[in-house]
């Protein structure tokens, strides 16, 4: 062993030790993550190659003398030995050549890789896992999930706290304002796609409308006023929407959130876009859970 070989060995050893230190210190999962495994494998391979090259060729450089058969090419007296193509190279070249012919003529045209295909598979697999994991999600999980979706998708309009940015969108800390209810009573409404269909205009007027609207705006607490009787046939005696036949007027329940997400809504506050197909059933449930929690 000469000094250069020792230095090379030391260098390789440092590389390997550094790799191991980094991996253990940063708590990197090498076994289950293929990308990490490949990276570590690469690092070790580089270290090993460095050591091997140092061992074999550096020694050789010191002791070898030039010999062999000269080729006929000669440039101003500088000649070149005839060197056979190393067989490893030749075989690799042949293999790559064959593979490229296969890939160009058969592999790509027939089994073409597509980014979209990969995306579709990834999303499908994720969705399946997601539904499975959260099939029976508890309330706390739903609430957290709902909050994170809300902050990304809904907060730009409804505000980070869900207060509707002082009148620019629905305020989730309460159900509906008096003005909103009065507007619906006056104009009717038909955009949410409830089984009951349209709410006809003019179901109440004057004082009766005021009273009903006031009761809903105050949180629909206690027994409804007598004037609510006309509304009860569709919205239920307690205003809770008759099991999803018409909107629940007391809270943002799951059917309401689902209908609004599917159809969007245009009211006196503004326009809410539809989010049809953007959320899975679990995510819709999570949103409803979170929005309901804002009222308290």
């Amino acid at each position: 062993m000469n000094s250069i070989q020792i230095k090379a060995l030391g260098f390789a050893a440092i590389l390997i030790i550094a790799t191991i230190v980094v991996v253990t210190k940063m708590n990197i999962d090498v076994i289950h993550d293929s990308v990490n495994a490949i990276t570590i494998g690469g690092a070790i391979a580089i270290a090993t190659l460095t050591a091997a090259v140092a061992f074999k060729y550096i020694g050789q450089m010191k002791t070898d003398t030039a010999s062999g058969e000269l080729s006929e090419d000669n440039w101003d007296g500088i000649g070149e030995y005839k060197n056979e193509l190393p067989s490893g190279w030749a075989y690799t070249f042949l293999a790559v050549f064959l593979w490229s012919m296969w890939y160009g003529l058969i592999g790509y045209p027939v089994w073409s890789y597509s980014q979209i295909g990969e995306y579709n598979e990834e999303v499908k697999a994720y969705q399946k896992k997601f539904e499975e994991v959260h099939k029976n999600a508890d309330k706390e999980t739903l609430q957290q999930m709902g909050e994170s979706i809300f902050l990304v998708q809904c907060a730009p309009c409804h505000g980070n706290t869900g207060d509707g940015l002082s009148g620019k969108a629905q305020d989730f800390t309460k159900r509906m304002t008096k003005a909103q209810v009065l507007a619906v009573i006056k104009n009717g409404q038909n955009q949410l796609g409830y089984p009951m269909g349209a709410m006809p205009p003019g179901m109440a007027s004057g004082e009766a409308a005021e009273k009903v609207a006031e009761w809903i705006a105050n949180g629909a607490k206690g027994t409804p006023p007598a004037e609510f009787a006309v509304c009860a046939s569709c919205h239920g005696a307690d205003g809770k929407g008759n099991n999803g036949m018409a909107p629940n007027l007391t809270t943002y329940d799951l059917p309401l959130v689902q209908h609004v997400l599917e159809h969007g809504k245009k009211g006196i506050i503004g326009t809410m876009p539809a989010f049809k197909g953007r959320f899975t059933p679990v995510q819709e449930k999570a949103l409803a859970t979170y929005i309901q929690s804002l009222a308290n």
């Binding site: 160009g104 790509y108 045209p109 980014q115 979209i116 990969e118 995306y119 990834e122 999303v123 994720y126 990304v152 998708q153 730009p156 309009c157 980070n160 940015l165 620019k168 503004g270 326009t271 809410m272 876009p273 539809a274 989010f275 953007r278």
Partner: protein, 227 residues
């Protein structure tokens, strides 16, 4: 054995070019020919939307916003379906952009609405706390150039056969005939606006009645068309 190849650079270069072209031919061309066509039901932008697109380019929204959703789950969760090249077939130029200081806008028409844009363009941090997007209040004062937008539509129709209707013709008369349609589109946008401190809804309507479309109206029409 292959020395003759090494000694003949012209042949060698041609060979390499041939091999690479072959790869390009089978990998790029078929895909390109397929993807560059307009997707089914793609409609060219209306004159008002084109005028809005001019505003978008003039005010350099592309410096902070891209219009290209990549097929990654994280992106499609946030913005909606990934973009297809056929969707840009009538965009000249397309505004893919390459910088996302703000979010992608390729499908913003699906999840933002007229009244939201109105508030947001007037004062972004009031709507999105901490937003570093600048306010664009001059858009309420400036008038969008709908006439040039019409000329653009006629030009792309004649030059590239973009499917605009037969009423899109050269000349002042054709434009005067089409102008009421543009103003009507603008009124539909204003109908969904709420008015800001800068300009009330009535004032916006009045301007349009005078034949002037404020830039903000055209821009919102354009943003709403990004679906």
């Amino acid at each position: 054995m292959f020395h003759w190849l090494e000694k003949n650079p012209f042949f060698f270069v041609s060979g390499v070019a041939l091999v690479i072209s072959f790869a390009g031919l089978i990998e790029i061309v078929p895909n390109f020919a397929e993807a560059a066509r307009p997707i089914a039901d793609l409609k060219p932008r209306t004159v008002l939307q084109l005028a809005g697109k001019e505003v978008y380019m003039k005010d350099n929204c592309i410096a902070c916003h891209s219009q290209l959703i990549r097929p990654f789950k994280a992106e499609t969760d946030r913005y909606g379906e990934y973009s297809l090249s056929g969707e840009y077939a009538y965009d000249r130029p397309f505004l893919w952009g390459s910088k996302r200081t703000g979010p992608d806008l390729h499908r913003v028409g699906r999840y933002r609405t007229t009244d939201w844009h109105e508030n947001h363009m007037w004062n972004p941090p009031a709507i999105v706390p901490g937003s570093i997007m600048p306010a664009y209040r001059h858009m309420w004062k400036n008038t969008a150039d709908i006439e040039t937008a019409y000329a653009e539509a006629v030009t792309v129709k004649n030059a590239f056969h973009t499917p605009y209707g037969p009423e899109f013709k050269k000349g002042k008369d054709a434009w005067e005939k089409h102008k009421p349609k543009v103003l009507e589109d603008a009124k539909k946008i204003v109908a969904d606006m709420k008015g800001t401190e800068g300009m009330s809804k009535e004032e916006l309507m009045k301007q349009i009645d005078e034949g002037k479309v404020p830039e903000i109206v055209a821009l919102i029409a354009y943003l709403n068309s990004l679906k």
